[in-house]
Symmetry: C2
Subunit: 412 residues, 2 copies
């Protein structure tokens, strides 16, 4: 292996201790005290590795390794250090620390590159404490303004901007990394495909498309004991029928997915027929046309169900993220690196969103996936074999060296 | 009419102003400042009517009108003055003020009775702020201890006992009205039966039985974008299937009812497949055997659905309130009064619980129902025609006079 798996593991274990949960996961919510500790550790490691740390005005941290050509745009490897509540130790973290290990390996080998190389940690990728996800890569790509992000509040009413100032990670606007040559992100798959194919590593060709909607049924709140079944207008029963029928519909669009993860009833009392029921709707597909058809069919189902259940419905799509194809030349570059290292791989698409989604708006982008046990992620039993992580990092080293224009390599 | 409908209406309008909402309803939650104002008004009217006001140690207010026989147990008319949030002006209030009007009418007519007559306002019938409902009639019947009730907390963590002390309605234990000759409660139907039968008033024969359960499905929380549909264990989809199948099942048991009014998902995020989904289950039927069969079939459905959806389920019944038959002699007494007054009526059962449910454990009990528009209750558009209220109150006067042993009647 090009990289030093043991050194990288020691760094990873030190990070895993910051916000560790009793059940072996981490809780490192964006802009929390624990996030600050994680950032401090990362910044310290960057400086030890001789990187020039530059923090932008939204808290994204970039560790720069100079290139020989002062005018050349950098090659960037990034991901994020924040986690969901009771999350795992691989999601995000692995990509950031793999980038750091690439920088260390370049030094080990005495490799100079024409282009600068940057290790990047994006603020608040998860979007758990402050919504939406991928907020700060999104800002670089122009999807959100800094002012809007600063005003986002968490559930306790704390402002993003105040919390960023509080933990001391408000950097400078001129440090925004919005011009780059190429972006790579190494990440766990968070799905079952690589494991099912008995492969350690995969080459990611795209991020599938996503549509989100709020679906709100309105019935009539009435007494659970006095309203005959046939006289009811029950917003929850309408929601239940919608959920099951929409799920059936999705089977016509493989490999499409549909999730209803949030349901809120009003008044929400055991003895009152729900007047309002609002649910989230998350639909995903790698094909944008299929995605549009799925959304339209979900709306038809909602209307049919509302009619049958004597309710009304407000079907409100509010987010469309089209599929994001990655750069063919970078996909080939990763595949070639795997071949050179005799690592069997497959091509697959990403079911989840990543900072790579927004970075793809700025520069050619691609991702490397690492096999994830049982497809489990965003939970404390998230797990990837360390040898798989090292293989993927070694491939990352190879593609960075090539893309950044490695000029000399002196074995350590 | 025996009673003075205009006088009663003026009293009713004065009460309706206490906690009035902009949309024409009331919010008079138990032991709130508004509840105190309502109590103060009621106590004042009782005293004006010459009643001896006795408050017990849980805040139930009794207005006593003396009988000729000092040893005779009283005839009691009661209901409650508290409301749900944004409730209506008839539920509970009407029964209390009808009792007061009966006392005034007895005086108008110079009627002495052998037995004392008591107008009763029970604390916290609704069980909205402090659960469960019918708490303080329940205490008289021995269903709850005063100590347990004092410790019940509202959602803000305020204790029942502290709030009762704060509003100044902690009376004396010796004022508990747990020995009585008969109990009558006049109440709006809160259902559609009388309206459908074009009748102003109904004679209530029983309160139907009720079973409650918590149903908790456990699946696996996983990523909405990376978990293939066939690999999911979705606790919400299981809940949706359970809800629809349980509702279908209930059609085999007319006039049974089934309500799922509360559903809580965990983690409850749009992008995460729900790991846990807990719902309330409320099943009602006038026949206790049918009720037991419905509950058993709901449990079978829950288990079948869990198996099919690769989830587990915890089906936890926690409350069984058997049907409460009312006293045949009081039912006949009410029916006879209607006949004397040439008021067409029907017999029907109560779908909802009332303080009469617990009072029936202490003494012969019956109820009079008033037609409710569109069966709507627990909401601001709850409505009953005033002439219907007056007809029912006039019947109530008649049955009280008879049951309490009216000894002389001098027309005013």
């Amino acid at each position: 292996m090009a990289v030093d798996g043991e050194r990288m593991r020691a760094t990873w274990e030190a990070m895993a201790a910051i916000g560790a949960t009793p059940a072996g996961g981490i809780t490192r919510l964006a802009l929390s005290d624990v996030d600050k500790l994680g950032r401090d550790a990362f910044v310290g490691w960057c400086r030890e590795a001789g990187l020039d740390v530059r923090v932008d005005d939204i808290g994204n941290i970039a560790g720069w390794r100079a290139g020989d050509d002062p005018k050349a745009l950098p090659v960037v490897c990034g991901s994020h250090l924040d986690s969901v509540a009771r999350g795992g130790n691989y999601d995000g973290v692995l990509g950031v620390l793999a980038g750091l290990e690439v920088a260390r390996t370049l030094d080990d080998r005495g490799v100079r590159t024409r282009r600068p190389f940057v290790v990047m940690s994006f603020t608040n990728e998860e979007g758990v404490r402050f919504q939406p996800p991928m907020m700060c890569s999104g800002m670089l790509a122009g999807a959100f303004t800094r002012e809007a992000i600063d005003d986002v509040q968490d559930s306790a009413g704390q402002r993003f901007g105040d919390e960023l100032d509080r933990i001391g990670y408000r950097g400078e606007r001129r440090n925004r990394l919005d011009r780059l040559h190429a972006y790579f992100e190494l990440h766990i798959e968070q799905g079952p495909v690589l494991e099912a194919n008995d492969l350690a590593v995969g080459v990611v060709t795209m991020i599938q498309g996503l549509r989100r909607a709020r679906v709100r049924f309105t019935g009539s709140n009435n007494h659970a004991g006095t309203t005959p079944m046939d006289a009811r207008r029950d917003a929850f029963m309408a929601t239940a029928a919608f959920a099951l029928e929409a799920r059936s519909m999705v089977r016509d669009f493989p490999p499409g997915m549909l999730t209803i993860g949030r349901v809120v009833l009003d008044p929400g009392l055991p003895t009152v027929i729900p007047e309002f029921a609002e649910c989230s709707l998350d639909i995903r597909h790698p094909n944008d046309g299929a995605l549009a058809t799925m959304l339209a069919r979900a709306e038809t189902i909602a209307n049919d169900v509302a009619c049958r259940e004597k309710c009304s419905v407000d079907f409100a799509p509010f987010w469309h993220s089209p599929p994001t194809p990655f750069a063919p030349e970078l996909i080939e570059c990763i595949a070639a690196a795997a071949q050179r290292q005799a690592v069997p791989t497959m091509r697959l698409y990403s079911g989840a969103g990543h900072d790579a989604k927004y970075m793809a708006d700025l520069a050619p982008t691609a991702m490397i996936f690492v096999r994830t046990r049982a497809g489990r992620s965003h939970c404390e039993d998230e797990y990837a074999r360390w040898e798989d992580c090292v293989v993927a990092t070694s491939m990352l080293y190879d593609v960075v060296a090539e893309t950044a224009g490695a000029r000399a390599e002196v074995p350590a």
